[in-house]
Each structure stands twice: as C-alpha cells, then as structure tokens.
C-alpha cells in the first residue's frame, strides 16, 4: 500500500474543487438555464411586462393552412426562441466539453423536429389518432434510430438528461411550494414502500438465480430508485463489473420504454384520474424522462378522452412529486449504504473502495434543488394575488410562458430518447438478469398501482382537482 501511495504522490494529482461541479455537471447547468429563464420572466412580470413573446408555442389548428398562418405570424418569435435555446444549451454543452460547433447543427434539427411534433400535437384530430406528442417523438426517434440510423453529427445534440432536467426545473415554477410541502411526505412514504420492496425482490431474485451481489444491487437500484442513474450510481459505489453495469442499463432502458406505452394505456382503460395515474407512473416508471413522457401523454387525455378526470398538469405534477421527491433524491443514501455493505460483507474484487458519507451529497441529483427554488420563487411572486387575480394576471404573463418553455424542453428530451435507443443493444441482456429484473417490475407495477389507486387514491385525486 505504501508503494501505491508513493506512486500516486509522484503523479501528484490535486483533489478537484467541489465548486468545479457547478460548471462541469449538467445538473447545475439545468439549474442555471431553468432559473435564469425564470429570473428574467419574473423581472419582466414585476415591471408589468412578460416573457411570453419569446415563449411561443403552437395553437390548436384544423387545417394545414392554419399552421402556415401561425408560422407566418410568429416566425420571428420561433427564430428568437431557437436562438434563446441555442445560446442557453450551447453554453452549457460547451462547458461540459461538447464542441459548440458540433452541438448547434444537431440542435437545429432537434428544434425543427420538436417544433413539428409540438404542432402535430395541437391538431384538433390528434387525440382521435392517438398522436400525443411524447409518444410521437419517442416513436419517430425509435423508428429512425433503428431503421435508417442516426448520423454521427447528430449525437452532440441528443442530450436527453440535459433537456429533461432543465424542463423539471421549469416545472417547479408551476407547482406552488405549499403543494410540494403538502404532497411531498405522502410521495416519500409511497415511494419508500415501493422502492424497498422492488429492490428487495430484484436483489434476492438475482442472488437466488446465482448472479453476483454487485450486479444484483445494481439491478435492484436501477429498478427501485432512479433507473439508469440509479444503476450507474450504485454500480460505481459497489464496484460492479463493466459488463454488469451495461446489462443493468439495457434492462432499465428496455423496461422504461415498454412502460412509456403500457402505463398510460392501462390507466386509460381503467379511466384513472390524472393525479392518480401520475402517481402510479411516478412509482412504477424507471427513469425521469421516460416517466415524464408517459405522464405528459396521460395528462393530454384529460378533456380529450371521455371518463378521465382531473386537470392535464396533474399527471406531470404527481409524477414529479413521486419520482423526483420520493425516489431520485435518495440515490446518494442508497449508494452510500450499499457501498458500506459491499466493502464489509461482499467478496473482494482486488480494488479497495472507500465508503464516504460525503458521497450522499456528491451523488445528490442537484437539479432537484433548482426545481424547489423555482417553486419557491413563483410562490413568492404569487403571494400578493388572490385566486381570480392569479388566474387572470400571473398565469398568462408568467406561469404559462414558463410552461411553454418546459414543454419545448421535454419535447427535445422525448425525441432524443428515441434517437439514442438502439433495440439491438437489448440482445446483450442475459436470461437470468432479465428474469430477476422482470419479477421486480411486476411487483413494482402492482404495488404502485395498489398504493396509488387504493391506499392514497383520495390524496392523488385531490391533487388533480
């Protein structure tokens, strides 16, 4: 060990400053972009103006001529919005090490495709043909990436997590802080029950099937906590083999994509309210981006599909509370506890790992902070308004434009999911990991359903109203 220290000292590497993460992690860039937009919106609102000119979004249309008219009338706004997103995401991407000259051409195509999908979703026949924008974005992306293939020059623009985290920070602006405080504890309780049960089932099924404990833990966290992010956090903390992390990633992506289609379909067949369905999706989906695609799809049914009660935004709100507050926030704790167990109890790997409580903060998904700050800021701004004044003044001038920004960011993400998912990569999943994970998926989906529709249903219904 002394030799190791001596060799290391000769290479003498300085510990990185924790402040460096403020500019080299996309969580922080999502915060800077999301809160930056909110700050500008609030400043304009305080001065009697609004950011709505640039927060342009398609309106309902019946004929293609309507689309042409909208584009003619709002062309400069769409161009300005492109510049705004390009500058915001471009600076972030450059700070992360992605060349801006490679990012911008790719982002232009993403913007144009996302805009087309956004327009399609506003067609007055879209619901009739099941053309919900998240599903169209995902389906189109999957089709292109798995048939024609995605050209390499497009890769720098396909940043699913960057877009989705920025969208989640912006989402905070439409959720009052009082709602987060009211619903957060219930979300944490429900998520904790499902997370512990799902982890336990996957872990013990995997061990029973003869899989390594490190793989079992990586699979378990991927299914129980926060999908691919959970798998890489715990995979690193316990020192899993590289191919084990790959297997866990493929399994999570496979089931997350399946659930984007299955959960809204089943919830729709059962006519669940938007709040209840959002809570179920938040409990039983495996990744933020995938879950938001499912939740936004379901929210779109409200008012368009008979029998589905609740306001459209409740599905996304309930999902976010359940997934972000109930599950994502705790990934550092899972990683720390499992690293302690791995170090103390599991077979040696030839690599000595140190379990440090500081990892809880290191791995904390920082964009959650942006989400909460965004909520606090808009709640504070809205304090001086009674409900009718809030609906009449604050919503159109402040909240609705920020919702439009959020929908754009989410659409960039949904499209990027499809374009980065290669179905052939699922072929590398072995039978035993597939069985262990699938047992966990079934338990997760059933338990999440029972808790959302039976145990806490009144609570989630109220959220939707």
């Amino acid at each position: 060990m002394a030799e190791i220290a001596q060799t290391a000292a000769s290479r003498s590497i300085a510990r990185r400053s924790p402040w460096g993460d403020l500019f080299r992690k996309e969580d922080w860039w999502a915060i800077w972009i999301g809160l930056g937009l909110i700050a500008v919106a609030v400043a304009l609102f305080a001065g009697g103006g609004s950011i709505k000119w640039i927060a342009v979004a398609p309106q309902k249309w019946s004929h293609l001529a309507d689309v042409t008219l909208q584009l003619k009338q709002h062309g400069p706004q769409y161009a300005a919005l492109f510049v705004l997103w390009s500058v915001s995401f471009g600076i972030g991407a450059a700070a992360l090490g992605i060349k801006i000259s490679r990012f911008l051409p790719a982002f232009l195509l993403i913007y144009l495709a996302a805009g087309s999908i956004y327009f399609l979703g506003l067609w007055d026949q879209a619901a009739h043909y099941n053309l919900e924008p998240p599903l169209v974005a995902l389906g189109l992306g999957l089709l292109v990436s798995n048939t024609l293939g995605v050209p390499r020059w497009l890769d720098p623009g396909l940043r699913v997590e960057f877009y989705i985290k920025t969208g989640i920070v912006l989402l905070g602006a439409s959720l009052p802080l009082t709602l987060i405080a009211w619903a957060g504890p219930v979300a944490i309780v429900q998520a904790a029950i499902v997370s512990l049960a799902t982890f336990g089932v996957i872990y013990f099924a995997a061990v029973r099937l003869g899989l390594d404990r490190r793989l079992a833990a990586t699979l378990g966290t991927g299914g129980a906590v926060c999908g691919v992010s959970g798998a890489i956090a715990v995979g690193g903390a316990v020192g899993a083999k590289k191919e084990e992390v790959s297997v866990a990633i493929s399994l999570v992506v496979f089931w997350a994509i399946v659930m984007i289609f299955v959960l809204p379909l089943v919830a729709r067949a059962l006519s669940l309210s938007t709040g209840v369905a959002g809570a179920w999706i938040g409990t039983s989906e495996f990744a933020d981006a995938a879950g938001l695609a499912a939740a936004q799809t379901y929210g779109g049914y409200a008012g368009n599909v008979a029998g589905i009660a609740g306001n459209p935004d409740a599905a996304v709100s309930a999902f976010t509370l359940m997934k972000v507050i109930g599950r994502d926030m705790w990934i550092g704790v899972w990683a720390f506890v499992l690293s302690l167990i791995a170090t103390a109890r599991w077979e040696r790997t030839g690599i000595q790992s140190k379990s440090r409580a500081a990892e809880i903060w290191n791995r904390f998904p920082k964009f959650v902070l942006g989400f909460i700050v965004a909520s606090a800021v808009v709640t504070l701004v809205a304090r001086g308004f009674d409900y009718p004044a809030y609906k009449k003044e604050v919503v159109p001038a402040l909240v609705a434009p920020l919702q439009a920004f959020r929908t754009w960011a989410f659409t960039f993400a949904f499209l990027s999911i499809g374009l980065t998912t290669r179905i052939r990569e699922f072929a590398s999943i072995g039978a035993r990991p597939l069985v262990a994970f699938t047992i966990g998926v079934l338990v997760n989906v059933v338990l999440g359903f029972v808790l959302s529709t039976q145990v806490f249903n009144e609570f989630w219904n109220r959220l939707g109203q």
Binding site: D21, I232, A233, G239, E243, V253, I331, S353
Partner: protein
C-alpha cells in the same frame, strides 16, 4: 496550503472517466441518463479490472 495528493484511481492511467468516453463504453447510458450527471460523481472504468469504480478507490495495479 495545496490540496493533498490522492493515491487513488482518479490519478491512475488505467482509469477512464471522461464523460464522452464513458458514454461510448456503456451503450444506452445517454438514452435515459448521462455521464455528465451529478449522480455519477467521478466514477469511471478501470481498464485493468474491467470494473466500474469510484475515483477514490485504490489498488496495487495503480500506474
């Protein structure tokens, strides 16, 4: 006072932790997560042991 030296994977030539390198090595990572995410911390792949480890790990193969 300068920060302490680290006898750890972060300084090892076998440790691959650049985000772009990781996303290439772990297919699907960028579909629903990211190597630039805070949850990854500075974890990376040890080319000797073919394991995904924390940057503060140590081993006799350090180089």
């Amino acid at each position: 006072m300068s920060p302490p030296a680290l006898p750890a994977c972060l300084a090892c030539k076998h440790f691959k932790h650049a985000p772009a390198e990781l996303e290439a090595a772990l297919p699907g990572l960028s579909s629903l997560s990211s190597a630039y995410a805070a949850v990854r911390a500075d974890d990376g792949i040890c080319a000797v042991h073919q394991r995904y480890v924390t940057s503060t790990s140590v081993c006799p193969a350090f180089a």
